[in-house]
């Protein structure tokens, strides 16, 4: 167990190094923030001075090593635009991202899993067809379109929820809904297909042969086995969500990391981009580690060391 975690932490390290290399070179190749940091009427001398001051005249490799050196000491630099340490900025925004991703996830799972199970159990029924068709529609709606529609309907028209911002629970509802709907669709489809597979397994037949009620057969014997792939996908999606909700964050002015980084990319705020991508990647890896640890609860074969 300890060995395993150590191994996974090593995995985190190489992912971090790989990520930092990719993001460093991509972001540096695409232009220089100095022109953006100064107002357009700044003179050429001003531009040159600032560039020299920030060290952008050094070769890229030198700049990377400098970055890596600082990073090893836990210093990911100061945002060029916000003028505060990049890590501080990210950790300020991270709770919002986690909150939104978590709420969307919770909403999606809470609806999708029962729905998927029902659809699988009543395969071919009207409920199955209807919910799966709805899921397909859910999958094909672009986030921003859905987001704007929700605002128009629930905020402007009905006035139930605030249009944007973060702070109250009411403000969380619409963005979580907009983000969660496509997840819901995906999870419902996944749950259904996983359940169909599990329901075809011999042990489900055994459970029925024992005289268990259908609710117990499905809710206990089938579900626990179906949870394993679900948890994997949910964990991965959660990881994606934390950095990948830019559009929803934009529509709802949600102060998440995604928009912060996209803005940072646009303004070539090198330190901020670097730090954010790193943090997000490490978070992704850690969430997946957490998911793997969760398996211990679900799959005894892993915890007890199987492979007979």
């Amino acid at each position: 167990m300890a060995r395993y975690i150590l191994k996974r932490l090593w995995h985190t390290v190489y992912v971090a190094v790989g990520i930092s290399l990719i993001s460093f070179f991509f972001i540096h190749l695409s232009g220089d923030p100095v022109l953006l940091m100064l107002p357009p009427d700044a003179s050429k001398e001003e531009v040159e001075t600032l560039r020299e001051q920030l060290g952008f005249n050094d070769p890229l490799a030198v700049q990377y090593l400098r970055f890596a050196g600082h990073a090893l000491r836990g210093d990911l630099g100061v945002s060029l635009v916000h003028r505060v340490p990049a890590l501080d900025l990210i950790f300020e925004r991270l709770p919002a991202s986690l909150e939104l991703a978590g709420a969307a996830m919770l909403f999606a799972l809470a609806v999708a899993v029962p729905l998927g199970i029902l659809a699988a159990v009543r395969r071919g029924s009207l409920l199955d067809l209807g919910s799966m068709l709805a899921a397909l529609f859910g999958l094909s709606m672009p986030h921003f379109w859905l987001g704007i529609m929700l605002v128009l309907l629930f905020s402007v028209h009905l006035g139930w929820f605030p249009t944007s911002g973060r702070g109250s629970f009411a403000q969380l509802v619409l963005p979580a809904l907009a983000l969660g709907l496509s997840l819901l669709a995906m999870f419902a489809r996944l749950t259904r297909s996983v359940m169909l597979e599990v329901l075809g397994q011999d042990y489900v037949r055994t459970a029925r042969a024992k005289g268990l009620r259908e609710r117990l057969v499905i809710g206990k014997h089938a579900l626990k086995n179906a949870l394993i792939p679900l948890v994997t996908v949910a964990g991965m999606q959660f990881g994606f969500l934390i950095g990948g909700t830019v559009i929803i964050e934009t529509v709802f002015a949600w102060p998440g990391v995604g928009r912060l980084v996209v803005q940072a990319i646009f303004s070539r705020d090198y330190p901020l981009v670097q730090a954010a991508v790193l943090v997000l990647a490490v978070l992704f890896v850690l969430i997946n580690l957490l998911v793997d640890l969760l398996y211990v609860l679900l799959d005894p074969q892993i915890s007890y060391g199987g492979g007979s």
Partner: protein, 346 residues
């Protein structure tokens, strides 16, 4: 003496991971197996699942790389061959698999499957190849027109015929049959068994027949090696083994085989417990924890092979006899004609 294949001290260990990032454990799948096969002979390895019989078969062909040991095929050490030498050697050593569904590529027609060995080893024109394929299909009892079909269009028995045809395309001298009939239904099994016996004789092939089914083994083979936990515990000509099994394991096994004759009620020797894990085989004789006749010495000492009678080898402390010499197993006298079916089944 005339030997086609000779296996000495074959060992295959592999590592498995126990559980979650746990330490690797060593599986002693095959642990010092020696035997020899004469030309035209059918030698069977029989044993329960996990005893290492299939691993032995695969290791002989180097389809898995053995950990140690030597395999001599027509005087050449198979384990020392370079990839090219091995590739050439494969012409002469072939294999028939257990699973009639998994052993054929579902996306290739029969013809493509059967011509593959020819493409690899012989320079033939397309027409010549087609001819050879058609010929072989007839040999195994299929229609030449079947060559354009895909595996899923055949029944299990027919597929197994295709598998046999593939093995015979290059006219090999040795064929390893890895449980070739155990996945088949009763009525089909007889067809395939008869075919195997017929072809073995017709092409003068040596057959290493691997099976868990003692009844089947009795029908096809000349000599039998009984395996238990990675070792051969007893070797004997087929008739002697079945009429007078020596090793307590062989005896128990034979007594446990059900016989389709309700009148014959025999006393069964019920072995207690399960086969131990090949990860930590028991010390001493590997069979001793389950052996009804175990002695004190069995717990301590690994029995060496003995020759209680001519042509018989047994690894058991119950028996005296000289240890076998250089020759691991006796083979038919040099110059002896291939056995006829009558000989085989008497």
């Amino acid at each position: 003496m005339d030997e086609l294949l000779r296996v000495e001290g074959l060992v295959k260990h592999y590592r498995v991971r126990r559980g979650w990032g746990g330490r690797g454990a060593r599986v002693h799948a095959v642990d010092g197996v020696s035997f020899a096969i004469a030309p035209n002979e059918t030698y069977a390895l029989v044993g329960e699942s996990g005893c290492g019989k299939s691993t032995t078969g695969f290791a002989v062909l180097r389809l898995i790389e053995p950990t140690a040991g030597r395999v001599w095929f027509r005087g050449r050490n198979v384990l020392a061959l370079d990839p090219e030498g091995l590739r050439r050697m494969r012409r002469e050593m072939q294999i028939v698999f257990q699973d009639p569904f998994g052993s054929l590529n579902p996306r290739l027609t029969v013809e493509r499957t059967l011509e593959e060995p020819l493409l690899n080893h012989e320079r033939l024109s397309a027409a010549e190849r087609r001819e050879r394929v058609a010929e072989m299909l007839e040999v195994v009892g299929l229609h030449p027109e079947h060559r354009r079909r895909f595996p899923h269009e055949f029944s299990g028995g027919q597929r197994q015929r295709i598998g046999i045809a593939r093995a015979l395309m290059l006219r090999p001298r040795l064929v390893v049959g890895d449980e070739p009939v155990s996945a088949l239904d009763v009525s089909v099994r007889a067809q395939i068994l008869n075919l195997i016996v017929k072809l073995q004789r017709r092409f003068g092939i040596s057959l290493l027949f691997i099976s868990h089914d003692l009844a089947v083994v009795r029908y096809v083979s000349h000599r039998v090696g009984v395996m238990y936990l990675g070792r051969i515990v007893e070797t004997a000509p087929v008739r002697e083994l079945y009429e007078n099994p020596l090793h307590p394991y062989t005896r128990a096994l034979l007594s446990a085989v059900p016989v389709p004759d309700p009148r014959r009620r025999r006393t069964r020797i019920l072995l207690p417990g399960d086969v131990p894990s090949p990860i930590d085989p028991p010390p001493g004789c590997r069979f001793h924890p389950r052996c009804p006749e175990a002695l004190a010495v069995c717990r301590e000492e690994d029995p060496r092979p003995r020759r209680p009678a001519d042509g018989r080898i047994v690894c058991c402390h119950l028996y005296g006899g000289s240890p076998p010499g250089e020759t691991v197993s006796p083979a038919p006298e040099p110059g002896a004609s291939p056995p006829t079916p009558e000989e085989r089944r008497t």
